[in-house]
Amino acid sequence: MATEPDPQTDTTADGSESGAGEVEARVGLRYTLKQVKRDTTALMGIYTVGFVTLIAVLAAIDYYIFDYAVAEMFWYSPVQDPDEVQRLLPPVGMENQFGAGVIEHPMGTDHRGRDIFVRLFYGTRIAITVGFMATGIGLVGGTLIGAVSGYYGGWIDDVLQRITETIYAIPFLVLVIAFMTAFGRDLTFAMIGVGITSIPVFNRLIRSRVVSIREEDYIEAARAAGVKDRNIILRHIIPNSFAPVLVQATLQIGVSILIVAGLSFLGFGAQPPTPSWGQMLSASRNYMLPAPTFSLWPGMAILVTVIGFNILGDGLQDALDPRINN
């Protein structure tokens, strides 16, 4: 056996020496998170997204397990019309033609007298579910199609790319509305529809990466070692192409939330009385002059959430791209 000078001298090339032979990897989840944390803007993104997601989880627990019992116990039901109607109250500390704001309804009430705060809280569930599910569908579909198409090339590539380009060519809102008209107007089909329209985005992204990674020696080495095509794609090619996809997915969640809010505004999506931000906006547009704060709240919620996902995406991009690191 040949003698090697000193094992540690071999690792100094990556420049991250630290103490007693511990070498810290510059790849992987932990390192990425550390990079993101250094970036104040990205950190704000993480906190916003984390906060909104936490609310969504709490709302989902109450909705699925207790059927709004928790909300009713501590506050008001987000779906039931109240017995004692106080319509379109302003937030606490303000006054409008319908009365003065009261402490029980900190953000005021909507056109049926329901508490806006509680509806906003429970509307988070829809926004986050839709964002993650729609993006998930697009991500899984687009990644698989893109990877298969890029790895095999030839006619498989041609067929798959022409199909996704066809999807790309149709204006997505029209496509989703057509899809929902055909299958049903509820939220599930909104998510599937938005998911399908985002397949081409991921497909192209991953295909362009796969085409270059396919030629790498380690793919050839894996083939020479008898690894199955399926495992080469899943275990060797996709993980190597994943950094830009992760960034795109984060941005796409924001986009999906926006699209589904838009659909709800148009009457496609979550149906009343289920609280959703888009539908609250839609309802509020008739009362913009007498009660402007009614439309302000859901608008703000959408704005903050979408910006949160966008700056998180940007921060991830910086963290995952070694060229931007300093």
């Binding site: 040949a2 090697e4 071999d10 690792t11 990556d14 380690y218 020479a224 070692a225 008898g226 060797h236």
Partner: protein, 372 residues
């Protein structure tokens, strides 16, 4: 001699490009017996790497194996027969793609690639990749495979293999990665390892260590090797028998000592003259003149005649097949050059022709260099 482990007969691999057919490997034949290291030597572009990927049927489109026969331990890796319509078609006993993947690749024949920097997947730990290959090819459970992987890392001289198991490829130096690749090849206990210029990317000290290690491990595991290289000194160091390739053909084949001390083919001679030898002192090294012609349109006759110092008229016309030139009872030593009497094509009577090597085209360039 016993049955060869691997037998290649008249293998032809061609690339169908827009500019025409590139005959990268044009009818090569060689055998590999158990426990020996066979060298495959030649300049860049001679077709060495295409030949090795053909052995595992890993040639990608637009390349294709168009003829010949590859037999490994009695199994037909590649073989054609004439179909009903007169077109050649794969023989029935030829292994299917799935059988190749499951039985041959990695399990029976492993490859060590040229560039250790590129041959490991950057997003997985070194140990994880090693373990994956072992799991696939040796039917071990994940835990056993991990143990085996650490054992192999120790075997190839990686210090502290337990902790380095969880490190990523970029944390290893070039020499260390090459050791890992060798561990990967050996770990699946194949009968044959194809080493495709594994030390080319390394500096000479590391190269020396790796060669020493391979020799030791080869003795220990009794694995056969096909060692692809362009470096004659590596050949002298480790090979038992050598095949010299030029433009897709094997132009000389012999035992390693015969190749150096009883060189037959002018190309092999030119290769040897172009590098320093410990047993000969020369005033100035003599490079091979010119560059290798494109395989897309090889020269007529002997393919080396355009650069050959001994070229005569007949070399342009007659294409020599390699013939055994060794005396009876001696080990086989074949060469494809018509200047030997065995070819009987009238070389001696033929008129010498002017080539790049005899001072025709590129002589001016070398003279100016010499004057400096």
């Amino acid at each position: 001699m016993s049955e060869p482990l691997l037998s290649v007969e008249n293998l032809k691999t061609q690339f169908f490009t827009e500019d025409g057919t590139v005959r990268a490997v044009d009818g090569i034949s060689f055998d590999v017996y158990e426990g020996e290291i066979v060298g495959l030597v030649g300049e860049s572009g001679a077709g060495k790497s295409v030949a090795t990927s053909s052995l595992l049927r890993l040639v990608d489109s637009p390349g294709e194996i168009v003829g010949g026969e590859i037999t490994f331990k009695g199994e037909t890796i590649f073989g054609l027969e004439e179909g009903a319509d007169g077109e050649p078609r794969p023989r029935d006993e030829m292994l299917s793609e799935e059988e190749m993947r499951e039985q041959i690749r990695g399990r029976e024949i492993a490859i060590i690639f040229q560039d250790p920097m590129e041959s490991l997947n950057p997003v997985f730990t070194v140990g994880g990749q090693l373990r994956e290959f072992i799991e696939i090819n040796r039917d071990l459970s994940a835990d056993e495979a991990k143990e085996e992987a650490i054992e192999m890392l120790r075997e190839v001289g990686i210090p502290a293999p337990e902790s380095r198991y969880d490190e990523y490829p970029h944390q290893f130096s070039g020499g260390m990665r090459q050791r890992v690749l060798i561990a990967m090849a050996l770990a699946c206990q194949p009968d044959l390892i194809i080493a495709d210029e594994p030390t080319t990317a390394l500096d000479v000290t590391v190269e020396g260590q790796i060669l020493e290690m391979v020799t030791d491990l080869q003795e220990k595991y009794d694995t056969s090797f096909i060692w692809v290289t362009h470096d004659m000194s590596v050949v002298a160091e480790i090979c038992d028998r050598v095949n010299v390739m030029y433009l897709g053909e094997i132009i000389e084949h012999s035992e390693v000592d015969d190749l150096f001390y009883d060189t037959k083919h002018p190309y092999t001679q030119a290769l040897l003259d172009s590098m320093p030898r410990p047993d000969e002192t020369v005033h100035e090294l003599d490079p091979i003149k010119g560059v290798m012609p494109e395989a897309i349109n090889p020269p007529s006759g002997c393919r080396f005649h355009s650069r050959c110092p001994d070229a005569r008229e007949v070399c342009r016309e007659v294409h020599p097949e390699a013939r055994n030139l060794a005396a009876d009872g001696e080990p086989k030593h074949s060469a494809a050059c018509v200047k030997y009497d065995a070819f009987e094509v009238g070389y001696d009577e033929s008129r010498p022709i002017e080539t790049e090597a005899t001072g025709g085209f590129s002589a001016g360039l070398t003279e100016t260099e010499a004057e400096e």
